[in-house]
Every structure is written in C-alpha cells, then in structure tokens.
Subunit: 203 residues, 2 copies
C-alpha cells in the first residue's frame, strides 16, 4: 500500500486489463454506485467482453479482491532479505503509510469488506485473506525467533495482534478524518521493542 496501484501499469492480458479498469472505476465511484457499465467505461477493450466474463458486479469485484491479494503477495516485502526486525519494520511501513492518493482505493476496499456483513461470498474472501496475512506475519515472527532477533513469543498470537492492529488502522484511515498514524506508529515501535525484541538495546 505504498502508492503503487495493486495491478501493473501496462496490463499484460485481458484479465489484468479488466482488473485495472475495475480499480479505476471503484476508486472513482465507490461500491454502492458501481455498475459493470461504469467499469466498462474505464476498459479499453470491448464492454461485451466484461458481460461475457461476469454475471454480476459482485462476481467481478470478488475476482478483483483475489487479484489484489495476489498483487499484495508480490509487493508486500514478506520475503525481504535481512534481520527479522528490519523485515517487520518494512511490512509495518508498507501497510501504515497509506499515501493520500490511495485513500479512494482504501475507502472502496472498506465498502467491499462491509459487504461481508450480509454476503457469505465476501465473508469467505476476507476470512481467507485475513488468514493469509496473519500466516505471513507468523512466518516472519517465527523466522525472527529462530534467528534470535525476537523473544520466544507465540507467533500465532503475536501475528493475530499485529494483524488486528493493521486492519484497524486501515479502517480508521478510510472512515475518519483524523490521521492517527504517527501516534500509532510510535506505540507500535514501543511494542516491538518492549515485547518482541530479544535485545532491545541493540535495536
């Protein structure tokens, strides 16, 4: 979430082009006002291709959400080289520093997430994507414990805690006018130092 849109600038194939058009239309119109026709307006190829592939806007949006997770998997620095604490910092930076230009996209994602309140297909997506991010965080923590950077904490519980905080930060960012990122980051760093680091004085 570092300003890079969650798809390639030059779409390689029809699917990527559809996803790019969905991103643009979603940022412009939000969920409630979105229609396949409006996504078609942002699509360079034939609109009939959209109607051919997708029966409803939700079917398209659910595939879009899968695509976003795939892209995050590539862009979030989970596989970064170096010590686990630097690695964790890079992930926290990546999620917590949402540029102003991305607010529209983040607001749209919260609207999509709210669909999970009454639509089991959305709930299934967010259950899986939350689990995916928690698992990546737990892997990172486990690696840090093994290399001796982190204390012998429970990787699952710690990943759940960090992930919940990140999800809460994205929700606040998308739905309020107050920017709490600075105060939040200050305390996240204190948490990492006082609770996770094996040797806080070295950090």
């Amino acid at each position: 979430m570092d300003g890079e849109p969650p798809f390639v600038e030059d779409p390689d194939d029809t699917r990527e082009a559809i996803m790019a058009a969905t991103y643009v239309a979603l940022c412009t119109h939000g969920y409630a006002d979105l229609t396949i026709a409006k996504i078609g307006d942002a699509f360079e190829k034939s609109k009939s291709l959209l109607y051919h592939h997708y029966d409803s806007k939700d079917e398209l949006l659910l595939e879009f959400l899968e695509f976003v997770v795939e892209r995050f998997e590539e862009t979030i620095p989970f596989e970064k080289e170096g010590a686990a604490d630097d690695h964790l910092n890079a992930v926290l930076d990546h999620v917590l520093s949402v540029p102003e230009a991305d607010v529209g996209f983040h607001r749209a994602v919260i609207e999509l997430r709210a669909q999970a309140a009454h639509d089991p297909a959305y709930r299934d997506h967010f259950t899986r994507s939350d689990r995916f991010f928690r698992d990546r965080l737990a892997d990172l923590l486990r690696a840090g414990i093994e290399e001796g950077t982190f204390r012998d904490v429970d990787p699952e519980a710690t990943a759940t805690f960090l992930h919940t905080m990140l999800v809460g930060a994205l929700l606040q960012h998308a739905t309020t006018d107050e920017v709490v990122t600075k105060a939040l980051r200050e305390e996240v760093d204190a948490y990492v130092r006082d609770r996770l680091l094996a040797d806080p004085d070295v950090a």
Copy 2:
C-alpha cells in the same frame, strides 16, 4: 458490547422507542436493505411520527449512531472503581467479548461505518466517536500512570494503539468467519504486562 442491547428494554420516550425500533430493524435487514418503512414495522407507535421526525433513513441512522455512543458511554465501565489495570481489563473484556447474539448488530455497525467512505456526515460521526473512545482510554491510562499502576507511557499514543486494535477486532469479527479473540486477548494481556504495568510480577 456485553450482550446488553445499546438502548433500554423499556423505552422511556418517543426517541428511545424510535432508537429501539431502529436497532431491531438494522439487525434484521442490515443497512443496504433498510428503509424507514421497515423501521416503522418495528415501531409500536404511529409510522407517520417517523416520517415527521426524519427526512431520510441516513438522518435517522446518524441519530441512532449518536444514541449508541451515548449508551456505550453509560455501559462501558470507564468509571469503574479500583486499580487502573483492573479497570483496563474490564474495558477490554467489554469490547472483545462480543456474544454471538450481537453479531447482527456489529455487522450492521460496520455497514454504517463503510458509509463514511463516501458520506461526509458518517465520516464526521466516526471521527468524533473514535476520538471519544480514544480520549476515555487516554484518561484511564493517565489515571493509572498517576496512581503508579502503569509505567510512564504516552497516554495518547497508547490509547491510539489500543483503540486501533479494538476497532480492528470488531471489524474482523463482523466480516470474517474466523474467531481470533482468544489468540488476540492472549497477546493483548502480554502487551499490558510487558509494556504498561509498572510492576508486572504483582499482576
């Protein structure tokens, strides 16, 4: 959020009766399918009273959200007697232990919160209500620092961190099928012990 609905069982006046009907209708229909007519179906008095008081469903729902905050102000144990750590635990229990019966309500609140993505009136509400809860948490932390229960942490940053985590927990609970509360609570307790308590061995 301890199972008690966010309004009195026996409404004292017309406003409370309208709020009670809104709660029932919102839990039953969710935001998207809600209409003033459906709220009227849950209202014992004349439906015309509803149309007289409110021009739109959003006007009614925004007042409902204010009412919910007022009620939480009364039911969340911010003013509890005793040491600050017990007090903080009571607040965390209150928010994190959402009974199954309240899931419908929490899902509806997330749908309302998602309206903030495109509606400034909802964004204004959630900006103020988030600030309200952060301020109460900061007051609690400040009292604990003064009485020597908590370390000399920054009350604002710590309140922001805890509040963000609680908001994230409510979002996950409302939009996924996975219950992460147990793992989350485990790490929240560890955070309080390792980062906040002045004398962790006494706790």
